[in-house]
């Protein structure tokens, strides 16, 4: 922990966010504040705008209104510096765990991790990547292709990839979809533990009640996209 991190920092900070699509508001969040290093969930039924919110936080989508800060950086300022700056910010500051593992099928596990460093313009750091795989229980699988792995292993590779650039914010989209109770619990344990270990803020988007129960900060997005209201205080 450095001195800077000792000061209470903001992991995610949203005020008056509105995203429009086709002239219709698809996501509105009046306020969401998650301290750096905290873990929280964004819940709501399908179509409520969870993924849209993640896209905004990842800088994939520029909102029509509102202020969005990630790791003390105003995304609007980054976006103003151009798309390349936004790409770089996303690559280095945000680790995304997509709903589907989405790995490079032609690359082995280790290269899938190193690809994330490569596209972020970071040096490979092969040993660190191997150590990360080790911590995620993937030791010895670094030369396997994704199709040779089980679904659970693929998801852990996707998590490892999200962590490999040491991001300040980790966004997980429905990490427990299609998993039974035991596997869902294990996946969340790993996600939670590794995010905490990396000192990263974690936001999990889910419609799964099993997930909500685990997190202190929960943002509930209502169906039919209206204002998001925090149901529990941070």
């Amino acid at each position: 922990m450095t001195g800077v991190q000792a000061v209470a920092r903001s992991g995610v900070s949203i005020d008056g966010l509105r995203v429009m699509r086709g002239g219709r508001s698809v996501l509105e969040v009046t306020a969401l504040h998650v301290p750096a290093g905290a873990q929280g969930a964004v819940v709501g039924p399908s179509g409520c705008g969870k993924t849209t919110l993640l896209a905004v936080l990842a800088g994939l989508l520029v909102p029509e209104a509102g202020r969005v800060r990630v790791a003390d950086t105003d995304l609007a300022e980054v976006a103003a510096r151009g798309n390349a700056a936004l790409d770089r910010f996303r690559a280095r500051t945000v680790g995304l765990v997509p709903q589907q593992p989405m790995l490079f099928g032609v690359l082995d596990v280790l290269d899938n991790l190193l690809a994330a460093r490569h596209f972020a313009g970071l040096p490979p750091e092969r040993d660190a990547a191997l150590a990360l795989l080790d911590r995620l229980g993937l030791a010895g699988l670094e030369r396997r292709r994704p199709r040779e792995l089980s679904r659970g292993q693929q998801q852990r590779v996707a998590l490892a990839r999200a962590l490999v650039n040491r991001p300040a914010l980790i966004l997980a989209d429905e990490p427990t979809a299609n998993l039974d109770d035991a596997n869902a619990a294990q996946a969340l344990d790993v996600l939670s533990a590794r995010a905490a270990e990396a000192g990263a803020t974690l936001l999990v988007a889910t419609h799964d009640a099993r997930v909500c129960a685990r997190f202190e900060t929960v943002l509930a997005l209502p169906a039919r996209a209206a204002a998001g209201v925090p149901t529990r205080a941070p």
């Binding site: 399908s46 179509g47 409520c48 705008g49 969870k50 993924t51 849209t52 993640l54 896209a55 990842a58 994939l60 989508l61 798309n83 390349a84 790409d87 770089r88 996303r90 690559a91 280095r92 995304l96 997509p98 709903q99 589907q100 989405m102 490079f104 099928g105 032609v106 690359l107 290269d111 190193l114 690809a115 994330a116 460093r117 490569h118 596209f119 972020a120 313009g121 490979p124 990839r161 989209d173």
Partner: protein
């Protein structure tokens, strides 16, 4: 992990498509390479055989036939001209040198050429064995003649009438081999050279008395003369002057072989066009391969964007794939082209006239290679541009 590694991984992931595309590029490049090498070497050969010969003077007829017969020894000559014509040429101050040739007989398909020792110097021929001919019925043979007939200095042989094998033999007038020439790679390799007098003696028979001898000698002819100009002015006036005469015609080997190439050139151009067509097909194959890749990899391209790759990066990746495919094809095609010409050269070495080698390089090959690369790049540019436009939002599964 690097862009190159990713590129290789993608190429290797679709071996059949990669192989097919590389093969098409290689075939196109090989075809243009073969046409280029064969054309060059044939032209070079024609030019080399005609070196030092500005004009062929012989009987009236087709000038192309006269050149083919007199310079390349590929056709029958149009006829004979009186020996006096040679003296006239030699008396002309525009003529630096006139070498007479007398054709008509052959030995096992090799032409027996009555001439003068200057003919050996004209072709830069050196003796490998023996010495030059000094007396009638002595013969110096080319390297291929020696290799195929087994004749050596001291051997005796009988010529047959006509230029094709199997003509009636001149039974009672045997030639004696006095020299064997070193290989030159030129037309002289397959000629049997002998003094002019040998040809006359073979055909005249023994004169009965002195009057008949004078009559025979007065009727002596040569087939043609190879002329070298004394000055560039000769080119403007000499052929016209000769062609104005009743019995003689003059033909320029440079002009006639250029004409020959224009005639044969239609076929060569056709072959070259076929090569270019193959290259165009290859470019189409590059386009299809990458377009296919584009739809197969839509999610992975989006993932790259998600991981921070810029649109330019995605463009470069697909363009790079197209260029690498093309470049591999070019390398293989060039190798195949040169190997094919070399193989053809070795195959022909035992039989025909042409000497071909694959160890030859023309800068035009670089132009073809660059053209193929540009074509491959253009074919890759459209899919690459589409890849660069991969929407970012599609990276996350839409709700």
């Amino acid at each position: 992990m690097s862009t190159a590694r990713l590129l290789w991984a993608y190429l290797g992931a679709r071996p059949l498509t990669t192989l097919l595309t590389v093969l098409l590029v290689a075939l196109g490049v090989a075809t243009t390479t073969i046409v280029t090498l064969v054309t060059n070497q044939a032209e070079e050969r024609l030019v080399r055989d005609a070196a030092g010969i500005d004009l062929v003077v012989g009987a009236k007829g087709s000038p192309l036939q006269l050149v083919l017969a007199g310079v390349y020894h590929l056709d029958v000559p149009p006829g004979n001209v009186p020996l006096a014509a040679l003296a006239d040429l030699r008396g002309n101050r525009l003529v630096a040198q006139a070498i007479p040739l007398s054709l008509g007989d052959s030995f096992r398909g090799f032409r027996i050429v009555g001439t003068e020792p200057a003919f050996l110097d004209l072709h830069g021929a050196r003796l490998a064995l023996g010495e030059r001919f000094v007396a009638p019925m002595q013969a110096v043979i080319g390297a291929r003649v020696a290799a195929e007939t087994g004749l050596a200095p001291g051997s005796r042989f009988v010529g047959s009438h006509g230029l094709a094998p199997g003509g009636p033999e001149h039974g009672d007038d045997p030639f004696t081999v006095v020299g064997v020439l070193a290989p030159t790679g030129g037309v002289i390799d397959r000629l049997v050279l002998t003094p002019l007098e040998s040809v006359w003696l073979t055909h005249e028979g023994e004169p009965a008395d002195e009057d008949e001898r004078r009559m025979l000698e007065a009727d002596r002819e040569i087939t043609l003369a190879l002329v070298r100009y004394a000055s560039p002015i000769a080119a403007a006036t000499l052929p016209r002057a000769i062609n104005a005469s009743d019995r003689l015609q003059a033909a320029s080997p440079a002009f006639e072989s250029a004409r020959l190439f224009r005639l044969a050139g239609v076929g060569l151009d056709g072959l070259r066009a076929f090569g270019v067509l193959l290259l165009a097909t290859a470019a189409l194959s590059v386009f299809v391969a990458l377009f296919q890749a584009l739809s197969d990899r839509r999610r992975e391209l989006a993932l790259m964007r998600l991981l921070g790759a810029s649109p330019t990066r995605l463009f470069a990746l697909l363009l790079g794939e197209g260029l690498v495919l093309t470049a591999i094809g070019i390398v293989f095609g060039t190798a195949i082209g040169h190997a094919a010409v070399e193989a053809a050269g070795r195959l022909l070495a035992g039989h025909g006239e042409w000497t071909l080698t694959g160890a030859d390089f023309d800068t035009i090959e670089l132009v073809y290679a660059a053209g193929a690369l540009v074509l491959g790049g253009l074919a890759a540019a459209v899919p690459a541009w589409l890849a660069a436009r991969t929407p970012l939002a599609g990276a996350l599964a839409d709700e």
